[in-house]
Subunit: 456 residues, 2 copies
């Protein structure tokens, strides 16, 4: 093999520095999840195909990675089907398993499969990779991590309040201050569609409304007209286009628009409960903002809808999202199990922290001290000291070969090792160590006890 | 879907208690890896097929999970090949990617691909899942984690000394005392094959010798004879069958047997260096034992060979293994890059800890305190206290619904939540909390400050 090996497009290797940064984010999220009472589960990387297929729409089905059956897999393909050479139709005969596409469907499968062992309400979190055969592009990968927290088995709106607090707690802990937690409610959108006589056009209506920020009021109206929404209806929802101000002002406007819709009024009531809860409890660094144009995953969510935007000035799509779904487990035969959950976008959060220089400088997993190798006798003495350091939790290592000192120092420099020990003949004679601080260049002669005190 | 959903055979769901136990092992191993100066990398779950295929023998190739190409994948299959309907031959036309089979080959690929960014010697660890289409059985899964630490780019035997210490450090930290770290050397086995005139039968010879424990001396000799090893050769290696005693005694015997083999003598020299190093530095709870029958992965290892056996009395195969390999990266075109590494068998270690009751009782990721929900006003007061507790790092939650108190207590019991708070009308009036210890049943009335003191 003459050319250098490579990895599949859309996948990544992570070097030690990158792993350290990612673990910093994972650990921060995990700590907050647990403080909020969520417990971890893990599910297999691949599921039976029928668990995943048909759950993400036609496009989703296409983007699911399928695993080829083992053994003489072609022998099990029906002759006529084989002759057709139709990739779509043959897939289910060639593949029985598929890689996880998200963490939500496997979670629903888990809840239904283990319902008799679970104590509801079940607060679970899950931090695992997912795979999508998407076209790779900047910030979009074929393998990436999702970090999800969900509660199933309770209708209480306190959960929604908790998830807003959770977002605030995580981003505050990451020092990413000033994120906006946008909130909407599916019932508000349904109510608006109802009052403008477009119940049957809910998706068209919300897809158009969702573009308000990007294409502006006039084009949104044009799109609504093209989808068959009446001029009268568009006039009715005119106030939506200019909905501004704080929660209270927006809610007042919505109450006017939605006065004839029971569902819309229920949505307003839910929003008010959540807003009052958050106003009472306070947020550290985030802001909760009503955004009636927000419609992510509408087919899926039945109540609250969340999306988190990075602080103003950072050009990045949403860094988190979620919502309430009333029938997640229904697809696997377990009815009436309401759930609500949120997700954190690890890769985008990492990009934002990098851009804003928010990764703590102390994040590193390099070794703390390197012992220079001066030969066999010195190496044995070094290994003894290294053992004492490791016993008290200080990471330490011996340069394995007796190479030129300058080469060993270069190695320490490149690996950003903060301290180097010189343990040569004279130090051995006096039972001391020469400790060099690689940052300042300072050198001092110390005993083992002093060495431990400095490095611990 | 009427029947309960399921997961593919050979895969597992992990519930919160299982995740907690596995994380205890992972975290212990990770901490020791880092204290020994190893740094983490991560590689993609799937690799290009040509990176993996042909690296694990014919059997290995068969057990690698292949990923079906996306889109109209059949259209790219050559007509003649398609007509043949030969599963083996068609695989490479249907699949370009495959799931990681171990961490060693991806590590070799990583080193070669990133050789210009790496500072050698490169001490890396990697803890990630691998997948094998093996027949599932007790303790053997299709998805399982490997925990590997390797150093590449140094021939120093201090690395071998370090890995023995690392095994000792990890198993001591897990309180799994009394493991045996078996060591052998490929050069010893080659030397023996040489002196009995069976260089060309090295594999047959070592495969037979490896069975000594299981089938006994006579049957091993029979097998050697059947493989064409001479009676004279078998007489020469007679001392091997009764090799007993400490390192020194065994080495003395080996020196007699191997006196005419340069390679054998080199192997003895390496073993002596490692043994002297360990004798000088000491081990906490493990024992290093020479085992000349040890031959795992022989085609692969070129120097030291390691295998770790669980403490006596525990019926379990090896719980770790590794060795020195002189040409790992050669398969990807980078020559002369010697490496040595060890692996920890997570699933078997977990089984052993479970059997011996060695998981600390404190391993749990349940929430520390549950607030009983008595209604809206009480819930708001509870959420305020919960916020204060979370701010100081105490995991706390409110039961989300105002259900019967007995139901809420049952939930706390089932989830093993150690403390419950009753915050009702009278407590709100006196600005106190009734704190119930679920273990002892004790109840006390406390202020918020006292509550924090108890729970922090």
């Amino acid at each position: 093999m003459a050319q250098k090996p490579s990895i599949p497009k859309g996948t990544r290797d992570f070097n030690p520095q990158e792993v350290a940064k990612r673990n910093y984010i994972f650990n921060t999220i995990r700590t907050k999840f647990e403080i909020f009472g969520f417990q971890p589960i893990e599910t297999p990387s691949f599921e039976n195909s029928d668990t995943l297929m048909g759950k993400y729409g036609e496009e989703g089905d296409r983007l699911i990675f399928k695993i080829l059956n083992s053994g003489d897999y072609l022998s099990k393909v029906n002759e006529d089907l084989y002759t057709s050479k139709d990739s779509n139709k043959m897939t289910s005969s060639l593949s029985e398993k598929a890689l996880r596409y998200d963490l939500t469907v496997p979670f629903a499968r888990y809840v239904v499969q283990h319902q008799n062992e679970i104590d509801f309400p079940f607060k679970r979190y899950q931090i695992q990779p997912v795979w999508r055969a998407d076209r790779p592009q900047k910030g979009r990968f074929r393998e990436f991590y999702q970090c999800d927290a969900d509660v199933v088995g309770s209708n209480s709106l306190w959960q929604e309040v908790e998830f807003v607090q959770l977002y605030d707690a995580v981003f505050s802990a990451l020092k990413l201050e000033g994120v906006t937690i946008k909130i909407n409610n599916r019932k508000i959108l349904s109510g608006i569609a109802e009052v403008i006589g477009a119940q049957d056009k809910l998706i068209d209506f919300t897809v158009a409304l969702d573009k308000l920020d990007k294409i502006g009021e006039e084009k949104v109206k044009d799109e609504m007209r093209s989808k068959g929404i009446s001029e009268e209806g568009i006039t009715t929802l005119q106030p939506l286009f200019t909905l501004k101000g704080d929660f209270g002002n927006q809610i007042a406007e919505l109450k006017t628009i939605l006065k004839t819709s029971e569902e819309g009024k229920k949505g307003i009531e839910e929003l008010e409960f959540i807003n009052t809860g958050i106003a009472t409890l306070g947020l550290k660094t985030a802001t909760l903002q009503l955004d009636v144009t927000l419609a992510r995953g509408l087919n899926y969510y039945t109540g609250a809808i969340f999306e988190v935007a990075a602080p103003e000035g950072v050009h990045m799509g949403s860094i988190g999202g979620g919502g309430r779904y009333d029938d997640l487990t229904g697809i696997f035969g377990l009815k009436d199990m309401s759930g609500v959950g949120v997700s954190f976008g690890l890769d985008r959060i990492a990009l934002v922290l990098e851009d804003l220089g928010l990764f703590p400088e102390t994040i590193t997993n390099t070794v703390k001290v390197l012992f220079i190798n001066f030969g066999e006798a010195e190496a044995i003495a070094s290994m003894k000291a290294i053992k004492s350091l490791r016993d008290v939790g200080v990471s330490a290592e011996l340069f394995p070969d007796n190479k030129k000192t300058i080469k060993q120092f270069n190695y320490a420099n490149k690996r950003n090792i903060p301290f180097v020990i010189l343990l040569g003949e004279s130090e051995m004679a006096s039972n001391t160590f020469t400790l060099k601080n690689m940052g300042t260049g300072d050198q001092q002669e110390v005993t083992l006890e002093e060495l431990i005190d400095v490095l611990i």
